[in-house]
Symmetry: C2
């Protein structure tokens, strides 16, 4: 596999939708995604059920997802307390959101920079002591700009990436939380982060709020990124960033990568079939995506589209 | 100016819409686009008014557009007869669609390859004799794939590009008529065409049918392309290619380019204001675009977004 598509719909998507999907429907959807070839799925977040009742069954969802062979099960956690629950539930990878914009960090998880850095260090320490097999990732939110702060200086991103590496984060992802990124910036910032933290440089979490999502993927590929977050049907966004909607659509992302000749391990037809489960479970909810609407090109095979035989 | 955005909405967009926009409304829209900084607009096509009654006023539209200072006025023509009309109307640039897929060429303009090559040569000859100031461009349709033929071999594109250069076409554009292109292909094919026809290599006409439009723009920029077709609100497509809809959206394209630090000469706020004219003139018609819906990022300036001062 050349590139990993990391599906975040069951977490980022479902937590943005008021309605709570029953555990059984979540599992059916996650199983169908895995069946389509997805090898990494962010299945939920361990957070207060008062704030996000949609995620109250996260431990059970993780437990069932773990039974799917070959699937890396990811969960989001905001702090040490919920990280402990995620570790105990047997999550393979936890991801901690860390806002480069301090006002966004305070609005989102009520922690300033010093506090979240200390929290990540404490989570890594707990992992090292009691759960050595589990991977700890951090996701640098608002790395490309912030609806509260506006422009986010690249120096701040590098400083936070370095702090995360020092705290022991195994992978440091960059997130365009509010859809402000452009390809020149994505290309440059991933390279600068790699210069700063080397192999700890993680994946790209890009949004399509301003229609630039896949353009930014192309730039990230150029900068050596090999893991991309996306959500089926483009569901989800960031509930604490006003006006920010729109993860990039898994179906369109997989088509992009496969048609470029990159191997994602994903069967697009099966992926589109998994969408039906979501559509049925969430009647009336908007599902996005151009490829599901337009279909695959006539005579499409990844090799032919990439012109490798031309 | 680093990059030219060539607006095709008044031609490609309006000819795809059943209703005919009154000449006065066309002119108001074109003038507003020019006012926003667009320096190249494809204002119509010289074609049979029986087939496309929406374009019956093309000579008048060209005449009025010519009165706008600094605007390059482009019109599409399918053959020598209509090229003559376009030349006589004072069009600055004519563009001739030439399908690399022969079945598409026959469906679209009822000419096989030999016939269209001869037609282009005759048009260039007429231009050379009687209208020496006018630029003759050809646009290689289905260069990235075809809904009728399926895969279009790159060798066929290179052969047709070479034939167009030999026939005297001043610029040879590549068009993803049906939204099949991917960034790897775009990057490679533009480079190969440049190797074949050098400075006659023209711009990119990309569609967003499968959501890949702006991703393909990023790839084309890498390959040295400096002119991009798009339509305001994403109106239009190719009426003879079933299922093909969706020019890339001018508003989203300009945001992409400007945020990358490229100078388009276009004021995004004025561009979005021009959209209101279209919305008013075409009530009920779907207008696309993420940037008009989401707005510009907080604190957005092209320089800040591109991080040139970071």
């Amino acid at each position: 596999m050349d590139v990993t598509v990391s599906e975040v719909g069951p977490r980022d998507g479902l937590q943005s939708i008021k309605r709570t999907l029953p555990t059984e429907a979540k599992h059916r959807w996650i199983a169908a995604l895995a069946q389509a070839g997805l090898r990494e799925i962010e299945v939920g977040s361990f957070v207060s059920p008062k704030v996000l009742p949609q995620m109250a069954d996260c431990a059970e969802v993780v437990g069932r997802a773990r039974s799917i062979p070959g699937l890396r099960v990811i969960a989001l956690v905001p702090n040490l307390r919920y990280a402990t629950m995620a570790f105990e539930a047997g999550t393979h990878v936890i991801t901690i959101p860390v806002s480069v914009s301090e006002p966004h960090s305070i609005a989102n998880i009520r922690k300033n920079h010093a506090e979240i850095i200390a929290e990540v260090a404490a989570i890594v320490e707990l992992r090292n002591e009691r759960f050595p097999g589990i991977k700890v990732e951090t996701s640098l939110s608002t790395a490309f700009g912030c609806t509260i702060q506006g422009v986010v200086p690249e120096a701040d991103v590098l400083r936070m990436a370095s702090a995360m590496a020092k705290a022991g984060s195994d992978a440091i992802n960059l997130a365009d939380t509010v859809g402000y990124a452009n390809p020149a910036q994505v290309r440059r910032l991933f390279k600068r982060v790699r210069d700063e933290v080397g192999e700890r440089t993680g994946g790209a979490h890009l949004h399509n709020t301003r229609g630039q999502g896949l353009a930014n993927v192309v730039a990230a590929l150029d900068a050596g990124v090999t893991t991309f977050d996306s959500s089926q049907g483009g569901i989800g966004g960031c509930p604490y960033a006003p006006g920010a909607t729109g993860n990039i659509v898994t179906e369109d992302l997989v088509f992009l990568l496969e048609s470029m000749g990159l191997d994602t391990g994903i069967d697009i037809d099966k992926l589109i079939a998994a969408r039906a489960i979501l559509a049925e479970a969430l009647p009336g909810e908007a599902l996005y995506g151009h490829v599901p609407a337009a279909g695959l090109p006539k005579g499409f095979t990844p090799a032919a589209a990439a012109g490798r035989a031309a």
